[in-house]
Every structure is written in C-alpha cells, then in structure tokens.
C-alpha cells in the first residue's frame, strides 16, 4: 500500500509554524532562573511534535535540528538544567532557524546549511556547557548506551547465525499478560510467519476448573522454529511482552537437530525461569537497534524524496507569498456547516416531492419551501463566510518577539500590551494587515518611545508602553497602536513637509492635518535613517495598504504624552460573542467582551448622587446606572425598580457602568449586520444581528450607549481602575 505523504505536508507545516509561535512566545515569557514547568512543557511539546512530524514526513534535517532543541528543553523541563538567558536566546534564535528550514522546505528552496550548522553548534555548546548537568542525565545516558552497545553485539549474533538452522523458544507468559492487551497467540502466529514451527503447549499451570479465572493466562509454550533467521527478528516479536513473560531464545546449531544444544552466544541462550530478567535485558539491547536504525535508512528516504517532489508544485500553485492556500477552521464551525447542509438536503427533498405531482392547491407549500430554501442557502453562505474569520492573534502574535528584539537592540525598555486578540477578522485582513502593523509598531518603538533616561527626565516611568488594541466598533474593526512616548512633533513635521515639498506652506492646517502629512509619499521624520523603522517608504505605503482593504487610518498625538494610530477597517461580516439581554419585549445583544459581571442589586447598594444621577456601589466604586428601558424608550419593562431587575456591569472606553435590564438570555456568536446598509446608524448600537428565529436584535455599542445615556440623564462616568 502506498500512501502519498505529501498530502499531509500542508497541515504539518501549518501546525509546525503554530508550534514555532508557541515556542517563541513561551520563550519570550520565560525569565532566567525560573522554570515554570507548564510553560516549558508547552514549549517542549511543540518541539517534540515538530520533531516527530518532521521525522514521519521525511524532513530529516528539520527533525535532527529539532531533536537537539528538544533535548535541551527536556533537561530544562526536568530541572536538570538551569534556565539561563543565554539558553533562552540560543533557543529563540534556533526557533528562527527552524522557521527558515521549514519555510525553505515548504517552498522547495534550499536550506542554508551553514546557518543551520552554526546554530546547531550553538545549541551543542549550551548542551555541553553544564558538564555536571549532562553527566547526570540518566535518560540521555541510557539512550546513548543503547546506541553504542548495538553495533558491538549485532555482529556477534550474525556471526553465529552461519551455523544456526533454527531456534527453540521458551515462552512462559505471566498470568497477567492479557491485561496488557497482548495476545500470546499473536506472538506464536508471528513466529510461525518467520518459518516452519513446531509448537508444544504446556498446560501444567492450568488450575482446577473451580479456581479458573478467564482473565488470567495459564499456558506455557515451547516453539521450535526451523528457520535460520536473525535473532533480532525473534526479539522484535517479543519486544512488547518482554516484561510480561519469562522466555528464552535458544539457537539450534547446524549439525545437531537436537533441542537444546546451545552453542550460541551465552547472552542469548539463557534458560527460562529465574534468569529471565537477564535475558530480557539482552533482548532489549539487541532489539533496540532494530527499532532505531532499520526504519531510518531503509524506508525513510523514500518518503523524503517524494516529499520534495510534491512540495515544489504545491508551493508554486499556492502562490508566492504566505502560501495562503489553506485555512484552519474551528471544528464547531464545520459542525454548524454540516448541520446546515443537512437542512438544505431536507428542504431540497421536500421540494422534490412537491414537484412530482404539483398543482396550484399546493402553491403555498411551494412558497414555504422556497423561502425555507432561501433561508438555508443564506445561512449556509454566512457560515461559509464565517470560516474565513480568524482571530487577529494570528497577526498580533509576532509582536512580542519584535518588540523584545528591537527594544533590546535600541536599549529601550518597552512593555507591549495586546488587547482584544480574540477579535475575529477576515482572513484577507489577517494577511494584509501584518506588514502595515509591523511598520507602525516599529515606528512607535523607534520614534515614539524615548530612551529610558529621557523618560525618567521627563517624569515618566522608565519603561515605555506600546498597546495593540483590536475591537469591533460600529460594524468596523478598529486596530489601535498606542504608545506613551514623546508624541509627534508638529513643528518638525511641518518644516519637513515644506522642505520635502509635500506642502508649500503651513496655511491654516490644524494639528491633526499636520500630523497626517506623515502619510504623504516620501516623508520620513527620523533624523537618520535607522534600520528599525526603515527609510521613509513607510507611512504612505501603510496608508495605501489600509485603503486597499477599504479602511482608513487616523492619527492622534499629544506632545510629550504619546500618540495613537487608529486603523478602521470595514467589516460586513464580523462576528462577535454576544450575551442576549431582555428589556420589555426587546432583545439586545451585549458584546461579551464588554461585560464585566452581572449582579442583582440590593437596596443598600443604591445611591442617588445629587445632580449625578443614580449610582450603585460595587465593591469600592460607585458606578452609574443606565436604565436601558429609558435610554432606548422601551415601553413595557418588567420592572422599573432597580432592585427587581438585573444590573449588567459593562465596560467601555475605560469606563464602567451598570446596565439595568430585565433578564439575561443566552450567549451566542452573532454575525454583525449593518443597519446602515438600508437605514442609518442607530445611536447606542453597533449594528444588528439575526437571531435563530429570524428576528432582528440590535447589538449594543457600550461606549456609544454611555454617550447616549449622558444625553438623557446626568451621569458621571468614573474611570475604571
């Protein structure tokens, strides 16, 4: 049977790249000297999977390289090796090398072996560095021992096989052998496949019928194999059960046809019974090389070459960059797709039956069926579109490394905070937004955040902060890159713009308009072109990329306090996790990310602040209450008494408040539909969605709702901690 292994390569590469990301972010999170076993375990597991997969799919160089990393990680995991920053750095670099190897293999390009070799040397240096640690390494020592003893013993057996014409095998399974899932008869069957056998069954151990336990095994066997096979072949058969039986493998010499004239090597001719453990050890030693060396040279090269041949056309057809041919999909999404197809099939067969003998009396039924078909088709379409939705973490995940590397390179201290990584965006956005974001983050690092001493002098914390924030707002995806650095220098931009001929004079440009000049072609404010933020090809290209996605880019800046780049991308098919709430007869969806908690308000928590509206005390803070029924003019709420309904504590734009609602319904994923398609924006909402019963529910936009509420009632929002 031949199976084309190339068909699994794409999946292998995808999960391996994910594994590399896990390793990378894990390594970035590791502190020298401390060994968080969970963290290291996850890194180890990723390396282990890559190694195993690479070996299986024939990428031997990747497998070999990863093996060294795995060994190092294994030692760290077991606490046999200290986690040093040196080791972390070497491992991080190795992740890069591995990524290079993987990309090259995937694209059918040459791997840069020099780079791989030198990194391998680095890894080996680390491995060798702590002599005591490695010497105590029991697992490794054992493995190495096996490997070394193998060649020594193998010729021994083959040398004696000349005179051997067969084997006598004593096989005395322990009574518990069945409970290991091993069937002794299978062993005998396999032995018989090696050649002609005579089998003698010893039933002496069989208990009386009254003591008979079917779960225990009571038979012993003696098998005479009349074939001059290698002892290894026999050892292989017993490989799994050596601990579950007593056994002996005795060679039968050529001249003699007698039973046990054991002239073979002493190690392999040990009688059964008490010495079995020794024999088992010998068997282990000899069976090992079979398991290890055999598969590698004989069968592995075949798939390896097949892999290379197959990888090339695949890489070509997949498109040059990013190879975005396939997509990994949450199985839940697939399940819902399958359900929908099921419904579609039912509808189709219903319509089919209707068509068989149709007359006008059944026209209503037909219409019903058609509208059902229509609905299902639409749902199917939506679900298929949903498959394209991926969390933006796919894009964000590269930034911790970027910030780590660049900030240490520049001698800056920077903390990166990422918010809303779970925000789902279309795959196209994921693919296209990466480069612009890298550029913007680099800009923040390079131009925004000051050197630590400058920060301290300016009275700021030494460590600068860059935030990457993704969210859904009003049917848009909003991605913000915020920093608390020095902000844009209005005058510098202006003079530069005039110098570069971007504008002729300042005219009466507002600050914002001046800031936006940096998006003009050929603009660079860096005094020197640095290798971090590149050479001024940046911002205009960034803006063009965003525009191509149908989005827009804005800039906010406060001198000395930082700046923010705000990217808005349209999203006709965004999906969000929502909580349904009920107010009167109306159902609304609150984005789950906005919800902090839900509480039943007790009278003593309530507080009327003069001129500031209703508030309630939640732990140490007084939070304003927004009465949904009032703000949205819902006519018949179940209750207008705060203590009788529920307060959903929500947060938006850094402010918290309690939404007074009647009750909570379920949580579900909803597809955001624009109200603007046929109507216009509705204050307090970010759009609408279609519920399971086909009805429409509005999706609340919490910050917008707070603004709306402020117009209705005197509310003072407190900055949440």
């Amino acid at each position: 049977m031949s199976i084309d292994m190339a068909q699994f390569h794409q999946v292998f590469f995808e999960e391996s790249f994910e594994g590399l990301d896990i390793m990378e972010s894990g390594l970035l999170g590791m502190q020298p000297g401390e060994a968080d076993s969970e963290e290291i375990n996850a890194i180890f597991r990723a390396a282990h999977s890559i190694k195993g997969g690479a070996g299986t799919f024939g990428f031997m160089d990747i497998s070999a390289f990863t093996h060294i990393m795995e060994t190092l990680l294994d030692e760290m995991r077991d606490g046999r090796r200290d986690v040093t920053s040196d080791a972390i750095d070497v491992l991080l670099k190795s992740v890069d090398i591995l990524r290079h190897m993987m990309t090259a293999t995937q694209d059918g390009d040459e791997i840069d072996t020099d780079v791989v070799k030198s990194q391998q040397t680095e890894l080996e240096r680390i491995l060798a560095s702590d002599a005591s640690g490695t010497a105590n390494d029991a697992g490794n020592g054992e493995g190495a021992g096996d490997n070394e003893s193998a060649p020594a013993e193998t010729p021994d057996t083959s040398g004696s096989s000349d005179e051997i014409v067969g084997w006598k095998i004593v096989f005395n399974p322990h009574d518990t052998i069945l409970r290991s899932g091993n069937d002794p008869y299978r062993i005998i069957r396999e032995l018989s496949e090696l050649g002609e056998t005579e089998v003698i069954c010893d039933t002496d151990q069989l208990p009386d019928l009254k003591d008979f336990d079917v779960e225990n095994y009571h038979l012993s066997w003696e098998i005479r194999l009349n074939a001059a096979v290698e002892q290894q072949a026999i050892n292989d058969i017993f490989d799994w059960v050596e601990d579950d039986c007593d056994m002996a493998i005795i060679p039968i010499a050529g001249a003699s046809t007698g039973a046990s004239t054991g002239t073979g090597s002493p190690a392999s001719a040990v009688p059964a019974d008490s010495s079995q453990s020794q024999s088992a050890d010998a068997a282990t030693a000899e069976s090992k090389p079979a398991a290890e060396t055999e598969p590698a040279p004989t069968s592995a090269p075949a798939p390896a070459t097949a892999a290379k041949q197959a990888a090339k056309p695949a890489a070509k057809s997949g498109g040059a960059k990013g190879g975005g041919g396939s997509i990994r999909v949450d199985t839940a999404k697939i399940d819902s797709l399958i359900n929908m197809v099921g419904e579609l099939v039912i509808t189709q067969s219903m319509l089919g039956m209707l068509g068989e003998d149709f007359d006008m009396s059944r026209v209503e039924k037909l219409n019903e069926g058609l509208s059902q078909l229509e609905r299902h088709t639409r749902e199917l379409q939506e679900s298929v579109m949903q498959i394209r939705m991926l969390p933006i973490s796919f894009t964000f995940s590269r930034f911790p490394r970027l910030v780590h590397d660049l900030s240490s390179k520049m001698g800056k201290k920077i903390e990166l905070e990422m918010i809303g990584e779970e925000t789902e965006v279309d795959k196209t956005v994921i693919e296209k937004i990466g480069d612009p974001l890298v550029h913007l983050v680099r800009n923040s690092l390079d131009h925004g955040i000051e050197m630590p001493e400058d920060r301290v002098a300016a009275g700021k914390p030494e460590t600068g902060k860059i935030q990457l924030i993704a969210s859904h707002k009003g049917g848009n995806i909003v991605i913000e890159i915020r920093d608390d650095g020095r902000g844009l220098n209005r005058d510098k931009i202006l003079s530069k713009a005039i110098e570069k001929g971007v504008i002729s004079d300042a005219g009466n440009l507002s600050d914002k308009q001046i800031y936006e000049l940096i998006f003009e072609a050929g603009f660079s404010t860096a005094d020197q072109v640095s290798d971090v933020s590149g050479r001024g090809v940046g911002m205009d290209v960034v803006r063009r990329n965003i525009n191509e996605l149908g989005g827009g880019i804005e800039i906010e800046s406060t001198q000395g306090q930082g700046s923010a780049i705000i990217i808005r991308l349209p999203l006709t098919l965004a999906i969000l996790d929502g909580q349904s709430i009920k107010v009167g007869d109306e159902t609304y969806i609150v984005p789950l990310v906005s919800i902090v908690e839900s509480i039943q308000c007790k009278p003593e928590m309530l507080n009327m602040v003069a001129g500031k509206g209703e508030t309630f005390k939640l732990r140490e803070a007084y939070l304003p209450i927004i009465r949904m029924h009032e703000v949205f003019g819902v006519e018949n709420p179940q209750s207008t008494n705060i203590t009788e309904g529920l307060l959903v504590v929500v947060e938006g734009d850094g402010q918290r408040c309690g939404l007074f609602v009647d009750e909570l319904l379920g949580q579900h994923q909803v597809v955001i539909k624009s109200l603007e398609t046929n109507y216009k924006k509705v204050d307090g909402t970010s759009g609408a969605t279609i519920l399971g019963d086909g009805s429409v529910a509005l999706i609340l936009d919490i910050p917008d709702l707070m603004r709306l509420a402020r117009r209705h009632q005197p509310i003072q929002f407190l900055k949440s901690a």
Partner: protein, 181 residues
C-alpha cells in the same frame, strides 16, 4: 434649485433611464390604499409584498420608523406611510401589507419596507393620464409626489420612492446625530 425642481429632474431622469424597459414592459404602477386614498409607485421598484410581521424597534427613532425586519439576511427598516404622511395611525391587521421597495440614493441602493393599508391594483401607464402634482398641503408628502394620475375617474397619487425615504435613510454626519431626535 428648489426642492420641487429637484424632484422633477429626478423624475425625468428616471423616466429616461427606464424608457427602454418601459417600452417593452409598459409603464406600470403598483397602487395601494392609504386612508381611502390611492397611491401608486413605479412597479419596477417593488421588490416584494409581505404581510405585516413583528418588527424590532429602533431606539429613539421617529415615530413613522416602526423598526427593522430581516429580509433574506439583510436588515430593512419599515416605515409606516400613514405616520410618515401625518395621517392617523391605524392598528395593523392581517391585511396590513408591507411593500418592500428599492430606493436609489447617492450612497447606493437601499431597501425599505413601507406599511400601507392594502395593495390595490396594477395600473398600466397608457391607460392613465399623468399630470403635474399640485401642492398637496402635507409637506412631508408633497416632496415625494411625482405626479397625479386619473384612472377610471379615480385619482391616484404617484410617489417617487427615492424622495419618500430621502431624509430618513441618508447618513447624517456622525457628530450631528444628536440633532436628529
């Protein structure tokens, strides 16, 4: 250019562009009843006719905007034409009809459902006389009227569906939304 003049140019343009089609299909109007009066709209703009179904209310919307419904996966607002034209509200019944029409706006086509008392008939253009519309008194309606027709002695008010929804579906600049209420 006065509002009325704008209405006329809009109408003329429509007639021109639709001419080719009309020559084949014939000029047709769907007529419906609203408080004992007959109104007609260009049948080419009618997407479908549905019975009244519960809508999802929109907060802080004008009274004539009854809410939104889901029509094949898109969210469509539903206007009550009686309320829009400042006529007395009439409770919805099983016979209440929502006509889903396609309107053309500078921002693209938009669908809107209009609640009417009942659908009456389809009028063929060659059977009716169309005259210019006089001032109708009801301001909200006047702008939307594209002409008057007489058919078998009855008067039918022809409406320009684009004008019908003009003020309500256009996006107002975000900052000025507050004035909307």
């Amino acid at each position: 250019m006065s509002a009325q003049a704008a209405a006329e140019t809009g109408k003329n343009k429509d007639i021109d562009t639709d001419k080719a089609l009309l020559d084949v299909v014939g000029d047709q109007y769907l007529t419906f009843r609203l408080a004992d009066e007959d109104y007609g709209i260009d049948i080419l703009r009618v997407q479908e006719i549905r019975g009244w179904d519960e809508v999802t209310r929109l907060p802080n919307a004008p009274e004539f905007v009854r809410g939104v419904v889901n029509i094949r996966g898109t969210i469509v607002p539903v206007y009550d034409l009686r309320l829009k034209f400042s006529m007395p509200f009439r409770e919805y019944t099983k016979n209440t009809v929502v006509i889903v029409i396609r309107t053309e706006t500078p921002k693209g086509n938009k669908s809107v459902g209009v609640v009417v008392d009942a659908v009456a008939d389809v009028l063929h253009g060659h059977l009716i006389d169309i005259t210019q519309s006089p001032d109708f008194g009801r301001e909200t309606m006047t702008e939307a009227i594209s002409g008057l027709a007489t058919f078998e002695g009855n008067m039918v008010v022809l409406l320009d569906v684009d004008k019908l929804v003009k003020d309500d579906s256009d996006d107002v600049d975000e900052d000025e939304e507050g004035n909307q209420e």
